[in-house]
């Protein structure tokens, strides 16, 4: 039985895998298949010899004329990696604040959970409203932490809303540049993780679920190629539509910005345990 066209093509390109030895043996013993392989090699050699695609004379000058006005100044490598703009610093500060508060909340929880002497178990904060707590009490500290968390959450959601809006409204042209959205999403992933973990710690399940969905979407955007095909744009947008993610992020961010009382997040209430 002779080798097929497909066998010959795969073997020619060195992609016949484990069958390579068998195909070599067959070619060595079958003149017809050897001839077919020879014809294939000569055909593809003709393709190699073809010099098609040479642009017209003066092409370089035309090319330069088309691109010279569209050259954005290149960024030095350290700017591309670190991007030390004001927004980045603010984000870093917010992240540090969340990390600090989360750590502090965890530390305090350990202290509360630990057995304490009877003399100190009548803490003034137990059973009292945050507003009634004297300065320096655990409740006052909790309210202060909640304000920091709320500010960090508001800032984070505002930034996430911007990224999601850009994805939702982006141009779906071929090879659309996506670098800026990708970098911004990448910046937001770590912050989102901290906020989500804090929400889980405080028992805010609705917020935790929202941040979980947001994080998965941000990771997808951060890992997307620098330039998106229309298909990839559509897939990302479909995901935003399906989840209603942008809408929900926008509503919560608006509530936090407006300081509306119906924002039921325990973070806002100052709940820490």
């Amino acid at each position: 039985m002779h080798l097929t066209h497909d066998d010959l093509v795969l073997h020619y390109y060195g992609e016949s895998g484990p069958a390579a030895r068998r195909l070599d043996a067959h070619l060595a013993s079958c003149a017809a298949c050897r001839d077919a392989m020879g014809r294939l090699q000569r055909t593809l050699a003709l393709v190699d010899a073809n010099g098609e695609g040479e642009p017209a004379a003066g092409y370089e000058a035309t090319l330069w004329a088309r691109i010279q006005d569209r050259l954005d100044p290149p960024r030095p490598w350290w700017r591309q990696v670190v991007r030390l703009d004001g927004g980045r610093w603010a984000l870093a500060a917010g992240t540090a604040a969340i990390a600090g508060v989360a750590f502090s909340a965890g530390w305090q929880a350990r202290e509360i959970a630990a057995p304490v002497p009877a003399a100190t178990s009548t803490d003034a904060s137990q059973g009292a409203a945050p507003g009634d707590a004297p300065p320096g009490s655990a409740s006052a500290a909790g309210a202060s932490r909640a304000r920091v968390l709320e500010a960090a959450l508001r800032d984070h959601l505002t930034r996430a809303e911007t990224v999601l809006s850009e994805v939702a409204n982006g141009e779906a042209g071929g090879g659309t540049a996506f670098t800026a959205e990708r970098l911004r999403a990448s910046d937001l992933v770590a912050t989102n993780r901290l906020v989500r973990q804090t929400a889980a710690y405080t028992g805010d399940e609705p917020l935790g679920r929202l941040l979980d969905e947001l994080e998965r979407t941000l990771v997808d955007i951060a890992n997307a190629p620098d330039e998106l095909t229309p298909d990839e744009w559509r897939a990302l947008r479909a995901r935003l539509d399906t989840q209603g993610l942008l809408f929900r992020v926008r509503v919560l961010a608006d509530d936090l910005r407006a300081g509306r009382p119906d924002t039921t997040s325990p973070l806002k209430k100052g709940k820490t345990s």
Binding site: E60, L63, W64, L71, R75, G174
Partner: protein, 193 residues
């Protein structure tokens, strides 16, 4: 000034647009040939090269100074061409010529035996190769060119073009089959000399 690519890259990275022009002059034509092989027409090739240079300029900061700029530009241009082909693929409908059963030469104009004169043969090779490539669908052409001159594996081609491996493989099979039909008479003529 800017005798070497390294010097031109260093100056361009520092914001010297004229140094970047040196790179455009040196490598634009080469990139056009690469882009043309993949896209099959000069207009798309021009767009691809233009996008590739704009992207390269933005990303010059990431370029390893010791690397070969032509290799780097080549990769960017191939990726830009793949993006364009994938975008076109979404909009286009499958061609009737995709059916393997139609690729047996019966629907191909019968090639006349080439003239014995070698000069004529050489020019006919170019014409036949061009005609053969024009018979490929955009996807077949891209798969074939990524496999043949670019040397990418079938798996890589599938990943690049958003195809399953089997589909990428069959695109290459169909392309080679069409080229064999188009170039068969020339191969026979060359063998008979």
């Amino acid at each position: 000034m800017h005798d070497t690519d390294q010097a031109a890259v260093a100056a361009a990275r520092a914001g010297d647009a004229q140094a970047f022009r040196v790179l455009v002059d040196r490598h634009g034509r080469y990139l056009h040939r690469v882009a043309y092989r993949l896209t099959g027409n000069h207009s798309d090739a021009e767009d691809v090269v233009q996008d590739a240079f704009l992207k390269a300029y933005r990303q010059l900061g990431r370029f390893e100074a010791r690397a070969d700029i032509r290799t780097w530009l080549h990769k960017i241009a191939v990726n830009c061409a793949i993006d364009l082909i994938r975008a076109r693929r979404v909009r286009s409908t499958p061609s009737a010529v995709d059916d393997l059963d139609t690729i047996d030469g019966r629907d191909t104009p019968v090639a006349q035996p080439p003239a014995p004169d070698r000069q004529l043969l050489s020019s006919e090779i170019g014409e036949r190769v061009t005609a053969g490539l024009e018979r490929l669908t955009p996807l077949e052409r891209a798969a074939f060119m990524l496999r043949h001159p670019e040397g990418r594996s079938i798996d890589e081609i599938g990943a690049s073009l958003g195809l399953r491996t089997e589909a990428a493989k069959h695109s290459v099979f169909r392309a080679v089959k069409k080229m064999r039909v188009a170039l068969g008479p020339l191969v026979d003529a060359a063998a008979g000399e």
